[in-house]
């Protein structure tokens, strides 16, 4: 039976681990503007990436956005997940499809939708102008706010679906029992539903955090030229700068940062959940 794990493991090994090893090797090479990549065994790319205040800032931005978006996603996603989980089954199919639909539309299209909404000539500014609430256009697009809204919207369905599955497994009667004992709706939520769905919150947060850290299309399209997150910065180095060793080093820094924080986060959450 153990052999059943082999095909999948081999596939991931060949198509992920081996290429990443190749990338790791490249990250130790030396970059030269004329020859591009010189075989070497140097840590200079890592040292440069860590020491450069610009990339420190990019990493900090990425972490900040990922953290903020994860928190927002939990706050917004929990009620939505509860609503979805406790819905009668005939309407629930529609609600489930509505939750899945954005996932199938893709980040590029959704970003285009946000651009049409947030642009200076976009829907929101036009509405504000029509209501005489503003004179000039509000700068909404190409701001960190636009990126946070965009990324939150992208990862929300994952959180909602993860949490809904967990909430569904909480017996409704536990909530009814609490209400019967005198708990208001918000107390039921705080004292019964929330503690029982903590494992789901942990799983969802880890997933969402990773997705936020790795966000590419949304920050690229909504953040504007002055806003940089790690994944676009990595791609920039590979494609615009043709500096593969440095791009590879940045990629590994992003990967390690994500993994370390994910592990710490899930350990903290699971300890709290057990305690």
């Amino acid at each position: 039976m153990a052999a059943l794990v082999l095909p999948a493991a081999l596939l991931v090994f060949t198509l992920l681990v081996a290429p990443m090893a190749l990338l790791a090797r490249i990250s130790l090479n030396h970059y030269s503007p004329t020859e591009l990549m010189v075989e070497a065994f140097t840590a200079e790319n890592y040292i440069r990436a860590v020491a450069d205040p610009y990339y420190q800032q990019v990493l900090a931005t990425t972490l900040g956005v990922a953290f903020l978006c994860t928190v927002l996603t939990v706050l917004l996603g929990f009620p939505a997940a509860y609503w979805l989980a406790r819905m009668e089954s005939n309407r629930k199919s529609i609600a489930t499809i509505l939750t899945l639909l954005p996932l199938l539309v893709g980040n590029v299209v959704r970003s285009a939708g946000w651009m049409a909404l947030l642009g200076n000539e976009g829907g929101i500014n036009a509405a504000l102008r029509a209501l005489h609430l503003t004179s000039g256009p509000l700068q909404l697009l190409y701001t960190p706010g636009a990126v946070i809204v965009g990324i939150t919207a992208v990862v929300l369905p994952y959180m909602v679906l993860t949490l809904a599955a967990v909430i569904e497994s909480i017996p409704r009667q536990a909530e009814e029992a609490a209400a019967n004992l005198g708990a208001t709706a918000s107390t039921v939520f705080r004292r019964v539903v929330l503690p029982l769905s903590l494992p789901g919150v942990a799983a969802g947060s880890v997933l969402v955090f990773i997705l936020c850290m790795n966000a590419y299309a949304t920050p690229l399209l909504l953040g504007g030229p002055q806003f940089k997150m790690m994944a676009p910065a990595v791609y920039d180095q590979f494609v615009r700068g043709n500096n593969w060793p440095f791009g590879a080093a940045l990629a590994f820094i992003l990967l390690v940062a994500t993994l370390v924080l994910t592990v710490i986060g899930s350990m903290a959450l699971s300890r709290r959940y057990r305690g």
């Binding site: 009814e176 029992a177 019967n180 004992l181 005198g182 503690p195 029982l196």
Partner: protein, 361 residues
């Protein structure tokens, strides 16, 4: 403790009526059982009392207070759920303390009352356990303690014993009854088990397909069932269709005449004769001429009781009696042999035959 009044309570969903006009007054300290097969509306009724379901019409009164519009958490009912619904993330003591916390009872007072409640259900030694570490019976008692500790105005039990094994069920049944009587709790219990209802309740409400069939004490229901459904659902009953040929004599569809002195409820035909098996006396041997005679088709030994399946020229009856002693000739009766039957003609009731009209569609 207060009285509980259900006043023309009704619940309609889009197309179906779950509960059709329930009127009921439970006196202070009275235990009323809602009895019926699954889907009869008993749980819906209970949940309307608790406030989980809003009634379409009618009112719920606890004491003098109309609570129909009062949200669940302000009704002060104590409910025990079928699967207990214990909070899996809290200890036994925390579970029991929850309702008191919601009522903002001070910590010292709270701890005292939690300890009292746990002592009452003999679980004081398990206060710090988590629910999943307890047996089914223990979890049941936690649920009881949790509902009782808040001094509810009305005590509600939703099939509280269905998850327990037979022996435990009988024990807990007596415990709940004793507790309820000691504390003088006005109680509504939902059950589909007629034995449970008969042994625990002061009064029973028999429901079927959203309608109340009969309300009465266990004795009234057993001795004087209002219709065929109640007769068959409460206890065992022989039900034989036929006509009242003349006062005192009932003719079954297969032509056999059976003695019966009770009054026909309606016309003389289209009737059902209801006769409890334990009211039928069986004697071995031929008997006197004019006696009712029957052939034994099966004998079921039930320990304390023995049941005889009888054939009277095409009409089947069951008789039951305490298992005869070793030297009693009845003890050796086998299928194929004949028996003589008799019963008090007054204990056979006549009921109208069931008609399907008038049921909800």
């Amino acid at each position: 403790m207060s009285t509980l009044v259900l006043d023309r309570l009704r619940k309609r969903y889009d197309r179906t009526t779950a509960v059709e006009r329930v009127d009921l007054t439970a006196k202070q300290g009275e235990l009323v059982a809602l009895l019926g097969p699954s889907g009869c509306g008993k749980t819906t009724t209970l949940r309307m009392v608790a406030g989980f379901i809003a009634p379409t019409d009618g009112r719920v009164l606890i004491g003098d207070r109309d609570v129909t519009q009062v949200p669940v958490h302000l009704r002060n009912t104590g409910m025990v759920f079928q699967a207990y619904a214990l909070f899996q993330h809290m200890t036994v003591a925390q579970n029991v303390a929850f309702g008191l916390e919601m009522r903002r009872v001070e910590r010292a007072e709270r701890e005292k009352r939690v300890a009292e409640a746990l002592r009452l259900v003999r679980l004081d030694h398990l206060a710090d356990r988590m629910p999943r570490q307890l047996s089914g019976g223990q979890q049941q008692r936690v649920a009881l303690a949790r509902a009782l500790v808040v001094n509810p105005a009305v005590f509600l039990l939703d099939e509280p014993l269905s998850n327990l094994d037979a022996k435990l069920r009988a024990e807990v049944r007596m415990e709940i009854r004793a507790l309820q009587q000691r504390l003088g709790l006005t109680t509504l219990i939902v059950t589909h088990d007629q034995e449970e209802a008969l042994t625990m309740a002061d009064r029973l409400v028999v429901m079927e397909r959203g309608r109340v069939r009969q309300i009465g004490t266990p004795e009234e229901l057993y001795e004087n069932p209002a219709d065929v459904f109640v007769a068959s659902f409460v206890g065992n009953c022989n039900l034989v269709a036929g006509t009242l040929e003349r006062p005192g004599s009932f003719r079954t569809q297969s032509g056999t005449l059976l003695p019966c002195t009770s009054e026909a409820p309606a016309a003389n035909d289209g009737l059902v004769l209801a006769l409890r098996p334990e009211r039928v006396t069986v004697t071995p041997g031929e008997g006197a001429p004019g006696d009712i005679r029957a052939q034994v088709t099966a004998v079921t030994y039930l320990g304390a009781q023995t049941e005889y399946h009888l054939d009277l020229n095409g009409t089947t009856l069951r008789a039951s009696r305490s298992t005869p002693l070793h030297d009693d000739p009845l003890r050796r009766i086998a299928p194929g042999e004949k028996l003589t039957l008799s019963w008090d003609a007054a204990s056979a009731r006549l009921l109208p035959a069931e008609t399907e009209t008038g049921d909800e569609t």
